[in-house]
Every structure is written in structure tokens, then in C-alpha cells.
């Protein structure tokens, strides 16, 4: 199912196209499929703008069904990539509104406007309940939501995924699928790399918890963008053969796919690679290895102590758990059905991502200096 370089996707709406992932998807399409018309829909479109003439920007709120219907009727897209999601720390009501209601609105508006392909950005954590490890987990693993799911954000992502997949072939010409990326990082990410680089600046690289034998999936953002576009291409090509339905083992429509770098690494190895790139030169033998149980206990006490004085603790049990847990996935399904193959290796991704942070810091420093 290899796509020729200049194959056009027609007209694509990228919802959340000014966000971290959305922006990379737009860049990827501009670079790899330059004949595609891209309409970016976001709440605010004043950041991360491309200058390419094929990209247009539209302010809009996906929780407003009427506005969405009007927008889709006007653009008449062939495909929709829905990456919009609120920050996971926001209150539950917002997740309900954006992830659940917003996704339903987009589905309705797309169905009305005759969209052919709808790709939803889900999350690998929809199968992760926080306690059980994930060892080479694939799409057969069941969703973990509701009471079993500690993050309400994740529950709503899973619900939205279900709506998207259930909407497949309703009507017949409307094809959907979901992409579940794991641990996205890269230029412009606000969660993963910046936190690790800050840990280095705060001198925290001297410690590490556990045996460091827990493989973990981290995914460079351009690979995730690549996965999304392959999904769009696969749905569009399925669309050409309507009403024929592909055989089960080749089917993309109505399916969810894990997308990772396909290069799970031991958790602390990734952190140390990031720190090295950020400038850390601490020799390996100077690193203190903390026992997991001991670190959990320290985390427990520091959580309470800091709670008493009203500060954020340096070490929490959740962090200990997260850094000693196996969490990686099999991407065999994406490889077989989407023809997915990571295009940027993990070490190249780390290099790009950390350099971006350093550049941004330098720019900020220069501004201050002026």
C-alpha cells in the first residue's frame, strides 16, 4: 500500500492543526503531498501558522455543531484528521464537552458534508489503567475506562474513539479509523521533553529509580503524522472500491492502530539520551540507583510533607511507578495494514526535539538580554 510521494489527499481538514501534533501533520502533508488543500480548524489559529498557499486557517469551536456544519458545507473536504483535544489536566466537564461532544459534532458535520475518510487521534493509554504493565500490547487489549481508568481525559478519549469507529460506513461512503500514538515527543511538545530537560537543569540526573529493565514506547511526532496520513490514504483507497469491503486481515476502516517508533527502550536510557543531548556529561558510574520500594516510600513521605506545607513534591509515587513500569506496544497491525514504518529514528528524534528546546531557550534569553 505504498503511497507515491505526490499523491494528493484532496481537500483535508486538520482539526487542531495549530496544536503540537496537528501542526506537524500539516507540515508533513505540505512536504510529502504538496498538491493537497489543507484547511486548518482550531479554536485560535494565531500560532504555528504555515505560509504555504495550500494551507488556509479557520477559527472555530468544535463544540458548536451549527458552526461545524456550516464550515464543512463550505469546505467540502475529502478527509478529516481530528487531533483536537484539551490538556489532560483540565476539569472533567471540559473533556466531556470537547472530546465527546466535539467529536460527535465533527462526525455529524462530516457525514452531512459527504466526507470520505475520517481519522481520529486517540491515545495508546486507552488500554492502560495505570496499574497493570503493558508488554508488547496490541489492539486485542480491551479498553480501560470509567472506574478502572484513573484519568478522566483517557476515558473520554476512549469514548470518542468508540463513536468514531461506530460511525464507520454510516453512511456507506463514510470511512473512519483511529490512531493510538504512545508517548509523543518532538519539536513543540510541551509535556515530555521540556519536563526531562528541566529535570536536567535542576540537577536531577544523579538519580534513577529501579533496575531500568522496563521497555517504554516513545514516539517522534513526525512518525505519528506519517501514521495519520497513511491512514487517510488507506481509507481513501478503500473508498475507491466501494461497496467492496476489504477482507478482515487487511481492513483499515472501523479499526484502531497503535503507532509508535517501533523502538521501545529502557525508560532511563531514553531520559539519559535526552539529558546527554541537553548537555549532561555525568559519568554512568556516578548515577545513584534507588531501589523501587525505597523510592516509593520516599515518594509517599515527600507527598505528605509537601502537602502539609502546600508545595509540589520532588518525587511522587506516581513518578516512581511510571519510571519503573513496562509500557510498550506491538505495531504489527499498523505495519501490515497501513504499510507503516517509522521514518525518523528515535535518536534522530531526540536530537531534533532537544535542539529545538535549546534554541527556544536561547531565543528567550536573547529577548531578555535586549
Amino acid at each position: 500500500m505504498s503511497a507515491s510521494k505526490f499523491q494528493t489527499l484532496g481537500t483535508v481538514v486538520v482539526v487542531g492543526g495549530c496544536g503540537f501534533l496537528g501542526n506537524h501533520i500539516v507540515s508533513y502533508i505540505v512536504k510529502r503531498h504538496p498538491q493537497t488543500q489543507i484547511a486548518v480548524l482550531d479554536l485560535r489559529t494565531n500560532s504555528n501558522r504555515h505560509t504555504s498557499s495550500t494551507v488556509s486557517y479557520h477559527d472555530g469551536d468544535i463544540t458548536d455543531l451549527a458552526a461545524m456544519q456550516k464550515f464543512f458545507a463550505q469546505i467540502k473536504p475529502d478527509a478529516v484528521i481530528h487531533t483536537a483535544s484539551p490538556h489532560f489536566n483540565l476539569p472533567p466537564a471540559i473533556h466531556d464537552k470537547v472530546n465527546v461532544e466535539g467529536t460527535k459534532n465533527l462526525l455529524k458535520a462530516s457525514q452531512d458534508a459527504g466526507v470520505k475518510a475520517f481519522v481520529y487521534t486517540s491515545s495508546a493509554s486507552v488500554i492502560f489503567g495505570g496499574a497493570a504493565e503493558l508488554v508488547n500490547a496490541d489492539e486485542k487489549w480491551p479498553l480501560v475506562t470509567g472506574d478502572a481508568q484513573p484519568e478522566y481525559y483517557t476515558t473520554t478519549k476512549a469514548y470518542a474513539e468508540t463513536y468514531v469507529l461506530e460511525a464507520n460506513r454510516k453512511p456507506e461512503g463514510f470511512l473512519t479509523c483511529a490512531i493510538r500514538p504512545a508517548g509523543i515527543f518532538g519539536e513543540g511538545d510541551v509535556q515530555l521533553l521540556p519536563k526531562m530537560v528541566t529535570a536536567y537543569k535542576d540537577g536531577k540526573t544523579k538519580y534513577q529509580v529501579g533496575d531500568n529493565d522496563n521497555l517504554f514506547d516513545f514516539t517522534y511526532v513526525e512518525n505519528v503524522a506519517h501514521g495519520h496520513v497513511l491512514a487517510v490514504l488507506a481509507l481513501l483507497s478503500t473508498h475507491k472500491f466501494l461497496p467492496t469491503v476489504p477482507i478482515d486481515t487487511e481492513r483499515v476502516d472501523g479499526e484502531a492502530f497503535f503507532i509508535t517508533n517501533g523502538e521501545p527502550v529502557y525508560f532511563w536510557d531514553f531520559a539519559r539520551a535526552v539529558w546527554h543531548e541537553a548537555g549532561d556529561r555525568l559519568p554512568l558510574k556516578s548515577v545513584w540507583h534507588l531501589d523501587t520500594g525505597f523510592a516509593s516510600m520516599v515518594g509517599f513521605f515527600s507527598e505528605w510533607a509537601m502537602w502539609l506545607v502546600g508545595k509540589t513534591p520532588n518525587l511522587t509515587r506516581a513518578q516512581v511507578r511510571y519510571s519503573t513500569l513496562k509500557k510498550y506496544h506491538s505495531i504489527a497491525k499498523a505495519r501490515n495494514r497501513l504499510g507503516y514504518q517509522p521514518i525518523v529514528s528515535l535518536d534522530e528524534g531526540v536530537r531534533r526535539g532537544v535542539r529545538y528546546i535549546i534554541e527556544q531557550d536561547e531565543k528567550a534569553g536573547q529577548k531578555k538580554g535586549q
Binding site: 480501560v144 475506562t145 478502572a148 554512568l284
Partner: protein
């Protein structure tokens, strides 16, 4: 003989001593062999096999009887070819035609070669090569064809290298050249053996359809040897580490051995080890295609030895100063573990991969790449022997509607329980009420029953004097009632 040093070593490493004893005492070959029935010629062949390679001889001698002789001859033939190629005392114009036509020599009765230099350690094999040729006639034609084909391709490859003046001058240039060299000397052996296994029906034919796997089997072994033998090869004035790799770290090959470049040399060795390690998961995949135990052992033992050797060389500056080896105890343990099943071999790979990971230096230019390769070995192992099954579906709700339905269901279930309990209590009360009423109509004396009850409870708890008084009291009450 056992040296005092090794005695001291095993006193402090009893586990390794245990492995040696275990191997010697408990290991039985899969196929027993009766040497008395061998012809004189064949005995001579086995003699040469033992002389040329002790480590390979051990595994070859335990092979399935169907393949024992063909593999022995295959090995001796390639060793003969190698002995011609290696010998720098033979002029090129003499060497080249022998290398290029070695497959035809195999059919020349009585052919021998006496022009090797006196220091060539396997020269006697070529001096008596007629015994190999004689035995070669007796094996099945299908095996003969495979061996001839590989001999032809390897001989031509070696001749090309011998002709390449640049190669002789600077050694191996690019990584591609390095892999091509390893292909000629080891990848082809992997192919030849695989074809023999499949021909004998002892391996899955699918192995032939995935040629990159058998290539990796040979590449892995050869690259590990080249990486380990850096010092030995330098002393013999040979260079196999490709320039493309060492030039990233030092300016000239000799700089690798200078004390001031210690860190650079280590970084360079890491890159060599990384290059070899990328083949490891293919090797496990290949082993999964073998059907017969002796063939499995034959293939698995050198592979686990190789990954253990990589671990011994990793981040170890000794390789630039001497020949680094795994201990005999470790080797015996590996042989025990590699002659059982694939799962155990995967565990061995994982164990050594993790040892390598523990020594991986974050400031090594190939740090993350090495880590990823190790992760791949572990993930591959998980893909064939999963340690985790998809968990039991806890039936988490998949949508808001399902969540609400589940919530409503739980709410309804609770009220159902309340209603049910209330109904049971009510029923009991009504029946009790009815019975009491019927009893009342029939003239039951509840006042007496109540009094008696009070009395008895009182007695039990010691409030009231028992017996007489009680009887008296009953009388009083009874009399009263008659009024």
C-alpha cells in the same frame, strides 16, 4: 592441565564450576555414534576436523547421522579453501586459479596441495586432501551440489579480495565492504548449511524464503569474531574493522591502540558491537525454523557464545591489548542452556542483552542505538513467547451511553436488592401476624406465654428464684383466668 589460577577462579565462582561438571556429567549427544564402523578415510577426516576447530568439532560430531558426514566435509572443504587464501607465501597468480576452481578440485581424485608455507597451521589438511575428496564422492548428490555451489561462490569472493590491492593495503573500507566480506566467509556458510538442513528435512523450508535470516546467522558470528580479534589481527597485520567506522573516532587505524585514545577506542568498539548486535533478533528468528534437536544445538550454541562474547568485549578496553574470552564455566553453562529449546536460548540472549544494557554509556555516540537494538531483542522474544496475554476484558464501558447504562444498571440493581429485602420482611411479618391472629381466635393464652417467657428468661439470667415460686405464680395466673 588445570592451573592454580583457574582453581582459584573456580573457588570463587562455584556456579561456573557447577556448569562444567553438569555439562561433562549429564550431557548426552542427541544421536549416539559408533566410531568403529567408520572407514579409515572417514576417521582421518574426523581427525582433521578435531585439529582444525575444537569448538566446531564438538557440535558437528553430535549432528544427526544424516548430516554428520556432509557437514564435516563441508567444513573441511571450506577450511582447505581458507588455508589457501590465508597463506601470504603463495603468489597471487598461483592462488587465484585454485580459489576460483576449488569446486572442480573437489572432483579430482587424489588432488593434494603441498605448497603452503610451513607456518600455516592447517597445511596438513591440504597435504592429505585426497581423503576429503574420496569421502565427498560417497555423499548424496544433492548435498554435493549444495557444497560445490557454496565453494564456488566463496572461492570467487576470496579471489576478488585477494585481487583487490586497496583491500590489502588499507583493509576494509566501508561498512558495506565489511558486510560483503563477512558474507563471503560466513554468510555463505549459513546459506550452505541451511540448504543442507532443508534438503535433509530437518529444517523448515520457509528458511530459504527468508535469506536475510541465514545471512544474519553467519554475519553475527563473523562480526563478533572480527570485533573480538582486533588485537590478534593487528599483530598478524590484518584489518577487518571498516574504515567507515574507525575513522569516525580516530584518524589512523593505529591510533586506536594509543593509550591517550582510550575513550575513542572504546566508542569505536561500541560501534562495532552495535553493528553485530543488530543481527541478533534475526538469529533468534532463524532458530525458530529448525526442527531437529541436534541441528538446533549445532546452530544455537555458537550464537549464544557469540552474544556472551559481545558482552565480554563491550566497554572492555582489554580487547585492544589481548584476546578476550568467555570463561570455560560460562561456556559450559551456555552449552547446557543452548541444547534445550528456543525459549531458553531467547532467555540467554535477553540475559546477555541486559548485561550489555547495564554497561551502556549515555555519552557513547551509539548509546541510544545500542539500547534500541537490545529493546528489539526483548520485543522479538516477547512476540514469539509472550509473557503477557491480552487481559480479561473487565467490560469497561466503551461510550457515554454504555457508561450511563452501566451506572443505571448498578442503580437499578441496588434498588432491586432493597425491594427484595423489603418484600421478604413484609411477607414474614404478614404470615407471623396471620398465625398469631388465628391462634388468638382459637383461644391461645398469650398472657401466660408472655409471663412464662419472662419468668424463664429471668431464671436464666438469675433475676428470679426458680421453681416453686414460678409454679405458684402460674397457678395464680391460671386461677385468675378462670374468673
Amino acid at each position: 592441565m588445570v592451573s592454580p589460577k583457574s582453581i582459584a577462579y573456580y573457588v570463587f565462582h562455584p556456579n561456573e564450576l557447577r556448569s562444567i561438571i553438569q555439562w561433562k556429567v549429564w550431557h548426552n549427544p542427541v544421536h549416539e555414534r559408533d566410531e568403529a564402523k567408520d572407514s579409515e578415510n572417514l576417521k582421518r577426516c574426523f581427525h582433521f576436523l578435531n585439529l582444525t576447530s575444537r569448538s566446531f568439532a564438538a557440535v558437528i560430531m553430535e549432528l544427526h547421522p544424516e548430516l554428520l558426514v556432509p557437514v564435516t566435509l563441508f567444513y573441511l572443504i571450506l577450511r582447505g579453501l581458507d588455508t589457501v587464501e590465508d597463506d601470504m607465501t603463495i603468489p597471487l597468480e598461483k592462488k587465484e586459479p585454485i580459489l576460483r576452481n576449488f569446486q572442480d578440485i573437489l572432483e579430482k581424485d587424489g588432488w593434494t596441495f603441498t605448497e603452503n608455507g610451513p607456518n600455516e597451521k592447517d597445511r596438513q589438511l591440504l597435504v592429505e586432501f585426497n581423503v576429503v575428496i574420496e569421502e565427498f564422492k560417497h555423499i548424496k548428490p544433492a548435498y554435493r551440489e549444495i557444497i560445490k555451489d557454496i565453494t564456488k561462490r566463496m572461492g570467487n569472493g576470496m579471489a576478488d579480495y585477494a585481487n583487490n590491492a586497496e583491500h590489502n593495503l588499507v583493509g576494509v573500507d566501508t561498512i558495506r565492504d565489511y558486510e560483503l566480506y563477512c558474507h563471503y566467509v560466513a554468510g555463505l556458510v549459513g546459506e550452505g548449511l541451511t540448504r543442507l538442513f532443508v534438503e535433509a528435512g530437518l529444517a523448515n523450508t520457509a528458511l530459504l524464503k527468508k535469506p536475510e535470516l541465514m545471512e544474519s546467522m553467519g554475519q553475527f558470528l563473523q562480526q563478533v569474531n572480527i570485533t573480538r580479534d582486533i588485537k590478534e589481527d593487528l599483530d598478524d597485520k590484518r584489518r577487518f574493522w571498516p574504515k567507515e567506522i574507525w575513522s569516525k573516532h580516530v584518524d589512523t587505524f593505529e591510533d586506536l591502540f594509543k593509550p591517550e585514545n582510550k575513550q575513542k577506542a572504546l566508542d569505536c568498539s561500541s560501534e562495532m558491537i552495535y553493528t553485530a548486535l543488530t543481527r541478533a533478533d534475526d538469529c533468534l528468528y532463524y532458530l525458530a525454523g529448525l526442527r531437529e534437536q541436534s541441528v538446533f544445538n549445532f546452530c544455537a550454541i555458537p550464537q549464544t557464545m557469540a552474544i556472551a562474547t559481545l558482552n565480554a568485549c563491550f566497554q572492555n578496553y582489554d580487547i585492544f591489548e589481548k584476546n578476550v574470552k568467555i570463561t570455560k564455566g560460562e561456556a559450559c553453562q551456555l552449552m547446557v542452556e543452548s541444547s534445550q529449546n528456543l525459549q531458553l536460548v531467547c532467555e540467554v540472549f535477553k540475559r546477555y542483552a541486559r548485561k550489555i544494557a547495564k554497561k551502556n554509556n549515555p555519552h557513547d555516540p551509539n548509546f541510544l542505538k545500542i539500547s534500541i537494538t537490545i529493546g528489539r531483542i526483548e520485543q522479538f522474544t516477547e512476540s514469539i513467547f509472550p509473557s503477557q496475554k491480552p487481559p480479561v476484558d473487565q467490560k469497561s464501558p466503551a461510550s457515554v451511553e454504555e457508561a450511563e447504562k452501566a451506572k443505571k444498571q448498578a442503580y437499578e440493581d441496588r434498588w432491586d436488592l432493597i425491594y427484595m429485602t423489603a418484600a421478604v420482611i413484609l411477607t414474614v411479618l404478614i404470615i407471623t401476624g396471620c398465625m398469631i391472629f388465628v391462634a388468638y381466635l382459637a383461644g391461645a393464652r398469650f398472657d401466660i406465654a408472655y409471663y412464662e417467657l419472662k419468668q424463664q428468661v429471668g431464671e436464666l439470667l438469675g433475676w428470679i428464684e426458680p421453681k416453686a415460686k414460678a409454679v405458684e405464680a402460674v397457678k395464680v395466673v391460671t386461677e385468675k383466668s378462670e374468673l
